[in-house]
């Protein structure tokens, strides 16, 4: 399998980990869409060096801790991970200690980090806060502040190109379009964009997107939209026979297909904490 990893900022992850088809188009690294590099001479000169420093829009999951009990953490996390396991696997986690009573010490923290690791996630830093700086230094982990463009410009290491201070709004990525049937056992993940499948999704197949999931065919497997927390995302299908549908982690399993939905064009959306299903008319 070709191993060319093109990392443009921390938000790009090798989708081969998630998508079982190594030749799939979602692996094309050229459609970056994050902070566009300006075509000026500084950028051109930088391109010939060994590395590039850029500011990436990082989507980082935060774990807000209310307890440092590793057992409790393991229990609760395992439950949450079970809902969307492939989404959580090897995900970067930032620990927010703001709601803890008192300052935890390094050994307590190690227990917490181990518990998180056992659920398949990786702690990459601490959220900015009163207790985090000392602790972060002891543990050798960074303190991660919320990303604000003006702060980024202030801390920009040389060469600071004018484009970084202006921080152009990242262009939304066009949808990932998949034209072949998604076969049983295959998994498809559209990161940072919508997913459009113009064929059917087989039983025990999984299709996921950070945005919406559109299936212009039959949905017989699992469809998960808004996988990284977008509660406004929806799932659409022309023929509803789904095994499981989820939006932003809220899921529903279909042991029996309700008569009014079975085989019909259906959309699924999140209304508050509840997943609602509706016929698509017309």
């Amino acid at each position: 399998m070709p191993k060319s990893r093109h990392r443009e900022g921390a938000s790009r992850v090798d989708l081969r980990d998630l998508c079982c088809n190594p030749n799939h188009s979602c692996l094309t690294p050229s459609r970056s869409g994050t902070l566009a590099a300006p075509m000026n001479t500084t950028a051109a000169a930088v391109r010939t060096t060994a590395l590039d420093i850029r500011y990436a829009q990082v989507g980082l999951l935060q774990l807000k801790l209310r307890s440092t009990d590793p057992g409790a953490i393991l229990d609760e996390l395992t439950g949450k991970v079970a809902t969307v396991p492939q989404f959580f696997r090897q995900t970067a986690i930032c620990l927010d200690l703001a709601e803890l009573e008192g300052e935890p010490d390094a050994s307590e923290m190690r227990g917490v980090i181990e518990a998180v690791r056992r659920c398949g996630m990786l702690v990459v830093g601490f959220a900015e806060g009163p207790t985090s700086t000392e602790l972060a230094r002891t543990m050798g982990l960074p303190v991660i502040a919320g990303f604000r463009p003006q702060n980024a410009a202030a801390r920009a290491p040389a060469p600071a190109t004018p484009a970084v201070a202006a921080a152009p709004v990242p262009q939304p990525l066009p949808a990932l379009i998949h034209t072949q049937p998604v076969r049983s056992g295959q998994r498809l993940y559209a990161r940072d964009r919508d997913l459009i499948v113009t064929a059917s999704v087989g039983a025990a197949a999984e299709v996921m997107a950070d945005g919406c999931v559109h299936i212009y065919g039959a949905l017989r497997g699992r469809a998960m939209a808004g996988v990284r927390g977008d509660t406004g995302a929806r799932v659409f299908t022309r023929e509803f026979h789904a095994e499981l549908v989820a939006v932003a982690g809220v899921f529903k399993v279909f042991e029996q297909l309700p008569a009014e939905l079975a085989g019909q064009p259906v959309q699924a959306l999140l209304a508050g904490e509840e997943l609602r299903f509706a016929r698509l008319d017309g």
Partner: protein
């Protein structure tokens, strides 16, 4: 140009070896030079179905490991001059197969002027099945009209589209065909069995043939005669049609409708 056809399914017991044997005979009967290879190392059945189990001296693994030449291992069929069988090893297991070894054997068969190489895949998705499909140009996916077989075939279709040399190199992909076996029109009419249309809808592919359920299959395998050679039986006709479609001729599907009962049969039962 040698064409490599894999007969696979995912699910076990659906009729892969029966189909491999019959398709090979059907093609050989039309004058093509055909080699059929058993990839089920350790659980070999192709030699039994072909009726040459007592003539296996060297097998596929022997050839891969260089213990013998390909010519020494190939068994010539007694009924059809242009048909040759390469049996699997019964004493080894699938770890004895290597991708390079399989490639060498297939290349050597191509060099010998074989028109078709039929690879009889084992059930499952492990090494044996993977290597049987890896170098294929075409695939015949054998499906029973039954939910677990359809599910497994869907999985196999996914693997054919991604884990084969043609898929990885992007030179056209493996051409996929469905073969529906053990089809009972009576049970389909009674709503007990998936119909041809149901299977086509779920798997998204047209069928290259429908083989009716028949006691002839068991009889044939016991006799060591591939069922296509059993002249006059429905199964034999269905396989013959399938061979024609494989070669590009379009034929209407037979044996998919419940036979209409005549007046006397309806009056007096039967």
């Amino acid at each position: 140009m040698t064409e490599i056809i894999v007969v696979t399914s995912g699910k076990g017991g659906v009729g892969k070896t029966t189909t491999s044997a019959s398709l090979s005979c059907g093609l050989a009967r039309k004058g093509k030079k055909v080699a059929v290879i058993d990839f089920d190392i350790g659980l070999r059945n192709l030699d039994l179905i072909m009726g040459c189990e007592r003539r296996v001296v060297y097998d596929f693994v022997n050839v891969i490991q260089g213990d013998c030449t390909l010519k020494q291992a190939l068994i010539k069929d007694k009924r059809l001059e242009t048909l040759h069988v390469l049996a699997a090893s019964q004493t080894r297991d699938k770890d004895a197969l290597t991708a390079e070894g399989v490639r060498r054997v297939l290349d050597e068969l191509a060099a010998e002027g074989f028109d078709y190489i039929i690879c009889d895949s084992p059930a499952g998705i492990e090494k044996g099945a993977h290597l049987a499909m890896y170098y294929a140009d075409r695939a015949v996916v054998v499906v029973n009209p039954e939910v677990s077989s359809v599910r497994d075939s869907d999985r196999i279709l996914g693997l054919l589209a991604s884990k084969t040399e043609r898929a990885e190199k992007g030179n056209g992909g493996v051409k996929e065909h469905l073969l529906l076996t053990r089809y009972s029109p009576r049970r389909v009419a009674a709503g007990e069995m998936l119909s041809v249309a149901d299977v086509k809808e779920i798997l998204g592919l047209d069928v290259i043939g429908v083989i009716p359920e028949s006691t002839d299959v068991l009889t044939a395998s016991n006799a060591g005669t591939p069922v296509i050679l059993n002249e006059g039986s429905d199964v034999s006709e269905a396989y013959t049609d399938a061979v024609e479609r494989l070669l590009g001729t379009e034929l209407p599907l037979r044996f998919v409708d419940e036979p209409k009962k005549g007046f006397f049969a309806r009056m007096f039962g039967g």
